[in-house]
């Protein structure tokens, strides 16, 4: 349990709520049709075309979120450029951050 100024979190209460909800869901599921048969009724209807094997149509990891990446093509293009894999670029970013800190700290001091 976490209690502080404005934060309260009790995982045990959450767990009890989760178990209660799971039981309710199971009871609702039990009202389902008893005559449902596994196999034939679970087969997809493809206008009479034979269903391809599961191995042949398995969606691989690279295809997941293809649309998301495609929609953000501009952002990902810039990110790929940034992550060039060249160690020179890694060091350059390090130098850039250190330089920004130098400039900001000393410039702020000069202004203030």
């Amino acid at each position: 349990m976490i209690e502080s100024v404005e934060i309260y979190w009790n995982p045990l209460v959450w767990l009890i709520a989760f178990i209660v909800i799971a039981i309710v869901a199971y009871i609702i599921r039990a009202f389902g049709k008893k005559e449902h048969k596994k196999g034939e009724q679970a087969k997809p209807f493809l206008s009479g075309v034979e269903e391809p094997s599961k191995e042949a149509v398995h969606v691989r990891g690279g295809n997941v979120y293809w649309g998301f990446v495609e929609a953000l093509k501009g952002y990902y293009g810039a990110m790929k450029k940034m992550h060039s894999g060249r160690v020179n670029d890694y060091v350059a970013w390090f130098v850039v951050i250190a330089s920004i800190l130098f400039v900001v700290l000393f410039a702020l001091e000069a202004i203030l």
Partner: protein, 517 residues
């Protein structure tokens, strides 16, 4: 001689001596070598637990190397500390416990994983442990540099240990270049301090700095800050992390998380202990921005990855972002920034969230790396496009991976949620935008983990594989058990480990006076 007095020295000495004995014993017997390394690390683990207990009972412990009296921090004939001083407070104790535990789990895992070159592997492994715990024990800046170097060299060799692919060697070389440059920055800063104050001890330097910073102090601060921020893996200086984590053996990827956290510890020491209230408000703001960048870049780049370990490595970048964001917010409030935030003392809560997330990050991402290492070990495949349907043959691994994914994504009741909810609510006081970005990133993280779980475990059985070896499974089960346990009972860690660590950060005066008197 009271051995309890010498605990800090023994914690460094035992793995260090064993590291050099290991190749010799390896020539005689592989089994004896494994037993030697196991016993050495077990003893170190027990000594760390005893030391942590002493710190919580008695307060800050100092240990002077080479002195006739190990508690005499300033010799009678001197006005300042001149010897190597080890100093352990609540924060060091917290970090030590994490480091030694993760190393121990990593060792057990490696017994199943490392089949060839074990003599070299365990020597490097123990040296990496020495470097890591040395950084967390020392109260001396120059020694911090020395331990950082030991850690970097041994880690680079371990990253490139399985040199079956060209990218593995490349990752090791990149890591050593990056580490050498950051170590040079640290050495330069140490030189500046030595030139200015004739001092190397952190408490003594903090005492000299007082409330006002000279130009040299500022330059040293920027050097230390940027060097440790890079070693901690904050974006945009994170790019070495996917290379290193992605190519290292499974157990090493996990221990590397603890090593980056040792750098984070050094950053905390610099900000809170050495500079404390003299720190300019630019630095907490820089930490907040670096944290946000790490979260954003980490989660979005993870989505692109095809390599299972590189994907987890980018998730690790995002997790470092959460820690740095919370610590930045805490430091901002510590320096009096944000009226309501400071007056409500939410910054202390933010610090607690950040420190607690250090603990959770190493368990959660560590578990993912162990399972990923196991998958690569069994299938010899690391591409998400080629894996699939492994839940049919690797039932235990799939459940353990799911636990790790849920924890990293911050799903209740896992430990990741416990620390993330503290971070979300506390950083809201600095700016609601910070909380919004943090929560959205967690949602994207969950979406990414749906991808990775689907890619590896669901779908039809594509090939026949067995389960991972029992040593690997045992170490994964321990981590998963802790993830669930500390998710259900987070107050155990918060009250006993996190609170003393946060108090140690805030009560920097005690750290200084423990050495200076």
């Amino acid at each position: 001689m009271n051995l309890m007095e010498h605990l800090p020295a023994l914690i460094i000495a035992i793995p260090l001596i064993t590291a050099f004995l290991t190749p010799l014993v390896d020539r005689a017997s592989k089994k004896a070598r494994n037993v030697l390394v196991f016993i050495s690390l077990l003893i170190t683990f027990i000594l760390v637990v005893l030391l942590v207990q002493r710190v919580f009972d008695k307060g800050i412990i100092t240990y002077v190397m080479g002195a006739s009296n190990p508690t005499e921090t300033i010799p009678k004939q001197a006005a300042v500390p001149i010897r190597i001083v080890l100093e352990i407070d609540g924060l060091s104790a917290f970090m030590l416990l994490i480091s030694i535990f993760i190393s121990f789990i990593g060792l057990i895992y490696s017994f199943a994983h490392i089949k060839e070159g074990g003599g070299r592997f365990y020597t490097l492994f123990l040296l990496m442990v020495v470097g890591m715990i040395g950084m967390e024990l020392t109260g001396d800046l120059f020694n911090l540099f020395v331990f950082l170097e030991i850690l970097s060299i041994s880690s680079a060799a371990l990253i490139a240990f399985e040199f079956k692919r060209a990218t593995t060697i490349e990752a090791g070389i990149k890591y050593i270049i990056i580490s050498s440059i950051s170590a040079l920055f640290v050495l330069f800063a140490v030189g500046l301090f030595y030139g200015e104050y004739d001092l190397l001890n952190m408490a003594a330097i903090a005492n000299e700095i007082g409330g006002a910073l000279s130009h040299i102090d500022k330059i040293a601060l920027i050097l230390l800050f940027s060097a440790f921020a890079m070693k901690a893996g904050t974006a945009p200086m994170h790019m070495w992390m996917p290379d290193a984590y992605g190519e290292a053996p499974g157990a090493i990827s996990m221990v590397l998380i603890a090593t980056t956290q040792a750098s984070l510890y050094a950053l905390l020491r610099v900000c809170f202990t050495i500079y404390n209230e003299a720190l300019h408000v630019v630095f907490p703001i820089a930490l907040i921005l670096l944290g946000l960048a790490s979260i954003f870049i980490g989660v979005t780049m993870a989505l692109l990855q095809d390599d299972i370990k590189r994907l987890i490595a980018y998730a690790a970048v995002a997790e470092v972002g959460y820690i740095v964001l919370a610590i930045g917010a805490g430091l901002y409030g510590f320096l009096g920034g944000g009226d309501k935030f400071a007056s409500l003392e939410m910054w202390k809560v933010a610090l607690k969230g950040g420190i607690f997330h250090i603990f959770n990050d190493v368990l959660d991402i560590g578990l993912l790396f162990l399972v990923a290492g196991g998958i690569i070990y069994v299938t010899k495949e690391r591409s998400l496009n080629k894996l699939g349907g492994l839940a049919h043959s690797m039932k235990y691994s799939s459940i353990l991976f799911l636990i790790g994914l849920a924890a990293v994504a911050g799903l209740p009741p896992m430990n990741g949620f416990a620390s993330k909810i503290i971070i979300y609510e506390s950083i809201y006081g600095v700016s609601p935008i910070l909380s919004i970005v943090a929560i959205l990133a967690s949602i994207v993280m969950l979406a990414i983990f749906v991808k990775i779980f689907h890619a590896i475990f669901t779908g039809p059985k594509l090939a026949e594989h067995g389960e991972v070896p029992k040593y690997m499974l045992a170490s994964m089960i321990v981590l998963a058990g802790l993830i669930i346990f500390f998710g259900l009972f987070p107050d155990i860690v918060l009250k006993n480990l996190v609170n003393p660590a946060v108090n140690a950060l805030m009560e920097y005066g005690k750290y200084i006076s423990a050495v200076m008197g």
